[in-house]
Symmetry: D2
């Protein structure tokens, strides 16, 4: 009986991710590495996986995926090999008015398989502010708002490469306002007013991200999930779409 | 633009689950409730969801799913409504030798959709011991072993109902040994020796659960994931199969 | 060498908590049970702990603590026994305008020791809204706001008993606004405006809770921590005080 | 009313930690930064904190703590400033027989305060194997074993500096066996037999670490907690000691 996936999960490893600007960014990844296994598999798979991971640790990044997966697949004589690599990724951002620079963190991931299926997915989780249109409309002053997380997962078209920076930028333009690590007083005034002037439900955020992702020439498929940590409730508001359901 | 799912997540609620023996078990569920939304959706969806949840809170269990989902769908004029309800579930177990009874906890969930798709999934996560066959074979004495978690998710055939108790029992028979909350000394001797005499890799556990699930007359589809928290490593060993891939 | 604590942690158990109104509420607790051990300890401590826990499972609540701890201590001939029991606790709340009732969840805990020290602590974690005074002051319209969590831990004076309901109510009066599971439109207008008219930093929330706790006749000691999940940042704002530092 | 701590938590930041060998290791830290506040505090504290953090981000490590905290304290005119910085830390380890090198991850932290109290704590969390003495003694063959986590927190004596590498090494010598990321077959035989020949309860691990910490000339105070993820139970075994209680 062949299994879809046998391997190791929850491996933590320092990795370097290539930035759009060309530099290599140091971060720490949580990794899963699996293979679709022939029935006669020797049990050394964990050892093979770990050896391959160790070999690439000095310079592991997205473009290395096909090569790394191909060697796992070859060593194990597996029909298919799969790798997921999730990591915090940092971008320097300028505050909107004072232009003070600070570092924002985004949870990102690469997922790939080589073998029966050859696929690569890129995933970014981007925090934004959502300000409730209903609350604004019915209230004499103010409107409830909160942090929300937008998770955008894309499959690039053909051999196209999509930068994390571009996906993050695409999403940050789609909330009531984007977030910053450091804001001076004029910046705080700016983001407060920007959010108030741009109320959005989670559904609105999903739709806006979906429109931009549909218009992107290098995205073949995407899914978008938004979870908003409501300031007036203990639960979250949530919306989700898969691009395959948009064409029905 | 229609979205696949709009709703609320991370709602915590006391619920009562019907046991195989007939009693109602009190537990606490984490709930997500969503709907596939028409484009003209009024924003009252969160209110509708919460109202419906409140209405069923005194006696919410698996058999209530279709009814609960149908009312959400109707109220929202949605094409589809979906509900996920995850909760700890408790079974009294007798220790293998002393027959002392103690209470074991299992993470369980029901997931359902009503509308374009009418589906119900039942999921159990069951802890077992895995004892490494390789470690036993090559060592003069002893063998490394550890706790592992088996996640079995099934779709019942047609309108069949499958008890959580039956799925848990199916899985517990498939590790090197099952777990107990309370073991006296003769019990501890029993489980230590049972595991030593029954070495299994994560792959072996997946295959054995898969064979039992394939043989079950009321299971239409299943997936099985096993994560073993290796005692000699900081990472986990992992194996997974989807029943659709077994027939290829 | 005597150890401060030996025992078991991460035990999950169904328990019943007595409500202020007299009823017993069913919930699920995460439990740690430890003892300060004599050097000659037999290794049966886990078994003793589990037996005692099993014995009290049908009706375990705060008033049972001294009795439960005393039996653990006696069985193990331990100098001291300690128990922590954390659980979600539910209160029915009426929405401020429509008076619609819904169920709110609060993370609560009892912690106790019997032996060298005889102590009991009661802990509630209560979500509130915080609306930023600075953001309101400098902005033409609106103000950033978000969910915050207030953790109040108290030691009752002497043999006084303090209800969870009373601690939760004390805290809910100290945010920019309290939270509800279900709000109709007039309620949403009410809470939006209430928060806008009552801006508070995390420091303000801590100070207000501290003043009420100081004024409470049955509270001998307390600590207060507030974490606010800022809607304009990815990090949290935080403030903390221990009542012993207020008198210096 | 002065508060013990006002500031920010859950800030994620790339940092560089100096290794014992002299190199700088890149990792990602989760940071809390607080100050004991004068009553007239301006609300710019978050801005000050973030500015100071940003300034040190290119080369932040333990020896920088007093300087970083002193500037926070000065800027805010605070009585006291506090910083906690937790991060995964990686060490290359050789397998015991094959000498194959692989990278192990350890959760580490620095905690410090400057002001009323001047303190620095260093914390390491080290995974080890525990093999149950009772299970070995009573069973015909084998013995249950599992991964355990040892958390050692120390306060260095005077101005002494203690390397993370030394604390990790101290703890790794105190389990039934230490863990490795990569083991060849002869290594797996070695660690299996080593654990079987060295059975230890969680209490034994705590006592052995305590003896080594007491004997260390540069450790003024310590606490040790061990949690063992029992392979035959769903709960954990736990033991804890604070060095102040050893001298009573």
């Amino acid at each position: 009986m062949k299994l879809d996936a046998v391997g190791i999960t929850n491996v933590t490893y320092p990795v370097r991710i290539r930035e759009k600007g060309g530099a290599l960014q140091n971060t720490v990844a949580t990794i899963s590495l699996t293979a679709r296994m022939p029935s006669r598999l020797r049990q050394s798979c964990v050892s093979v996986f770990t050896t391959v991971l160790s070999k690439y640790r000095q310079d592991m990044h997205a473009t290395v995926f096909p090569e790394l997966l191909a060697s796992v697949r070859r060593e194990l004589e597996a029909e298919q090999a799969g790798l997921t690599m999730a990591f915090p990724y940092f971008l320097a951002k300028e505050a909107p008015v004072s232009k003070t620079s600070s570092l924002m963190e985004y949870d990102c991931a690469f997922e790939g398989t080589v073998g029966r299926r050859n696929q690569l997915f890129v995933r970014v989780t981007v925090p934004v502010t959502t300000l409730c249109p209903c609350s604004k409309e019915i209230s004499a002053a103010g409107a409830h708002n909160q942090r929300a997380e937008v998770c955008l997962k894309v499959e690039p078209r053909g051999n196209k490469f999509i930068w994390l920076e571009d996906l993050i930028g695409l999403v940050e333009a789609c909330g009531s306002c984007e977030l910053f690590a450091l804001l001076k007083r004029p910046d705080e005034k700016f983001v407060t007013e920007a959010a108030y002037n741009n109320p959005m439900f989670v559904e609105d955020v999903v739709r806006m991200v979906a429109q931009k992702a549909q218009a992107h020439p290098d995205i073949a498929w995407f899914s978008i999930g938004v979870e908003s940590f409501e300031s007036i409730h203990k639960h979250s508001a949530f919306a989700y779409v898969d691009s395959r359901d948009l064409t029905e």
